[in-house]
Symmetry: C2
Subunit: 456 residues, 2 copies
């Protein structure tokens, strides 16, 4: 039954890739207000495509920042299941731009990979779903199930407006289950079901000293240096054994069972050293790097700045220094409690002579875990294995997708994380790419899956 749709994809491959490239060429960087119109344009691209497909009720739902694209397909009838398909059409900033081999917004295929910002995260994967709908509609005249589409433009800036919008329009987005393709496989062409995601929270610490930059020769010796004070604070938060030393950080966290350690051991792991160019891995005392990345909480400083950063020297004691911190959380950790624990620690250890302020990131998410033997998960695994010709593995991963927590919270429906990215995709970095293998076999997987789900 899937054969004609698969043939359609093969016959129309070049045209569809050209269309995808048109989508990827729009610099929909949501964090930067300069790109506000581009984000709108990416939403319009999706709106047009959904209209072409004959979806009903296609619309941009306005928010205080970037719109959410909604559309539905109801012609599978009341007896067919309804899937809520979530994805995002916004992308990360491209800096440092000078490290890109080709322009991030002029997609280019090199060695079987499509290079562009958003190729993997998440415009490429969103496009695959629409192209599969096109193939099914063109060859079978209808889709095997009903669909509600929710494509947002604020995922990379914390999905600020999504939760409220989903809550206010609960009926509009109501479905039997959700599918999200915004994740990856553990290795290229290795079918992977994500059964757990980490939660997420963050703070920004600013240490303020003198009210203007001071001449280090005139004031050095009388004034606490804000950068040194910040260094002392940060160094007190995680030790060299990669253990977070903030009171309460690990409260509620359950250690790994021997079974789960074994499961993690069996996942074909990435060679971290080779993939990242580091000299050697480091991980939390008592846990392997694979265990730590998949199933233990993490604490990262994402950025730091203060004082003079230009050419040459500037002999000052700067007025302030700031660090941006985010943590990945596991089941048992409450984001808000973690923020409070981090803030309490910072206030406790801050030395005299400076003031310290902690800004709590609004964006937070609890960790998520689903049973690997749920039928929706099992059918996904079957479709995956059929398309890729390889057994599916089940993993927990360090990434956080706040919408997963929210869909669970508002709708209490099963969520299937069906991702086609690979570890080499360089998400959020220069030279993001997506393998065309994943693109082709991923669409094949989706065609099998939608048909599977109609086989009750």
């Amino acid at each position: 039954m899937s054969q004609k749709a698969l043939e359609y994809l093969t016959e129309n491959r070049d045209r569809l890739l050209t269309k995808l490239n048109e989508f990827l060429s729009i610099p929909s960087v949501s964090t930067d207000s300069v790109h506000k119109k581009d984000v709108q344009q990416a939403a319009s691209f999706l709106e047009d495509y959904l209209n072409e497909l004959g979806f009903e009720n296609v619309q941009k739902i306005s928010t205080s920042k970037h719109p959410i694209v909604f559309a539905e397909y109801t012609k599978a009838g009341p007896n067919a299941p309804t899937v809520l398909l979530y994805g995002h059409y916004d992308v990360q900033p491209v800096d440092p731009i000078e490290l890109w081999v080709s322009d991030p917004f002029q997609p280019e295929v090199r060695d079987g990979r499509l290079y562009a910002r958003g190729a993997s995260d998440d415009k490429g994967q969103v496009f695959m779903h629409l192209a599969v709908f096109e193939a099914l509609l063109e060859t079978e005249g209808s889709l095997p199930l009903n669909v509600k589409v929710c494509l947002e433009g604020e995922e990379e800036i914390g999905s600020e407006n999504l939760y409220a919008m989903l809550q206010e329009n609960k009926d509009l987005f109501q479905a039997d289950f959700a599918v999200i393709s915004d994740s990856g496989m553990v290795a290229k062409n290795q079918p992977t079901i994500l059964y757990g995601l980490k939660g997420f929270t963050g703070i920004e610490i600013t240490v303020t000293g003198p009210d203007h930059d001071l001449h280090s020769g005139m004031y050095g010796g009388a004034v606490r240096n804000p950068i040194m004070a910040l260094s002392h604070i940060l160094a007190s938060m995680k030790n060299e054994d990669e253990v977070v030393t903030v009171d309460g950080f690990y409260d509620g966290v359950v250690g790994l069972s021997d079974e789960e350690r074994e499961l993690i051991e069996q996942v074909p792991g990435e060679d971290f050293v080779k993939a990242t160019g580091i000299t050697e891995t480091v991980s939390e005392e008592g846990y392997t790097p694979k265990e730590h990345t998949m199933a233990r909480p993490t604490f990262e400083i994402n950025g730091i700045y203060g004082g003079y950063q230009g050419e040459g020297t500037k002999t000052i004691i700067p007025t302030s220094a700031t660090a941006k911190i985010t943590c990945r959380l596991v089941p048992g950790q409450e984001p808000v409690k973690i923020q409070h624990a981090l803030e309490a620690h910072v206030k406790k250890v801050a030395p005299k002579g400076i003031t310290v302020s902690v800004k709590k990131e609004k964006l937070s998410a609890k960790a998520y875990k689903v049973e690997p033997n749920h039928p929706l998960i099992q059918k996904a695994a079957t479709s995956y294995t059929r398309a890729f010709g390889k057994e599916t593995v089940y993993v927990r991963m360090g990434g956080s997708i706040p919408v997963v927590e929210w869909i669970e919270d508002i709708y209490n429906i099963p969520i299937v994380l069906l991702g086609f990215g690979t570890p080499e995709d360089r998400l959020h970095s220069p030279n993001e790419s997506f393998p065309l293998d994943s693109y082709d076999k991923g669409m094949e997987t989706l065609i099998y899956y939608w048909h599977e789900l109609n086989n009750k």
Copy 2:
């Protein structure tokens, strides 16, 4: 004898201030290659002024970056002493520009202060010397002593070419003593002789981890965070009691005698809290803030950067993090040995999983100390007191002027540090200014001093 020259300065005050403003309007920022032509223009301004004054042999001596302006006055004859007058016409960058109340290069007088980048450090003080020469030449027809002028354009970037130039042109700059007006008084209208200056050295530490920014959810737990590693390194270099914890840092440093502690105690000190807006002072355990700033070595982080610094969050493990460090040194400390000690410490404490590199600043200077009872110093104090109507105090200060060490090294002549700045001048910061009181009484001091020196 000085009366006519003083009257000349009063009568020509407006015209000379307009001329000074013309000089200050030239954005001669030496560290920024964008301003290369402006630095040249500032040198040309001085060249023109010296030619107008009838100085001989006026010339710009080219260097690999910014020129040194030379000129001489020999008409006082072989029996009069010859002074080497050193100053600099380059200025610090102006960032953060948004904090300036008025344009840094459009001088403005507010509440008796002249606001402009360079007003105090050092264009304003250089100009005072030339205006005093003008007053003496116009009213007395000659100067009381011979003069060699050395005005450089690279002081704020470490006087890279000055040492070699002084050495190569030793005869040209040979003099009986040197006068430098590139420092300040301990309080406004408080005559101050600097009898000691700190030395100076610096390093830049860069911690490098992964070869591209990593997604913190995919790699957090396996990869050492370069910013956290840098924080651990920095926190290990100075403790919260403001004691530098680097092996060998204090080697050769002589503790303060009770006599010197008393001398320092008697200097009318600045209210550090009021002047800087900090909550309270901090200083090295066992030393007061005044003792630490004047006579103990210091260690400051001048700038730090790494990872994401933009709007919003970016959940990365960054590739690298960098800190710029400079130290102020006291007699007994060798700059090169200090750099080696800092580097050895950094290499010793660097955690595994990252690489660390230490770049040693080329700019270094040994500390300087002169006897307060030298006749050249005593005559300066007399002139100072006569102009300002107040007893002169003798202080050591934290600032470093590499040229002081070099003049001593090459010529072995006494150096008189005759500065007219005030603690409120905000050198190197937004809203730099210079009090017009210092401008007027400073020139009066110079007129008395040049005459004093000819009274043998």
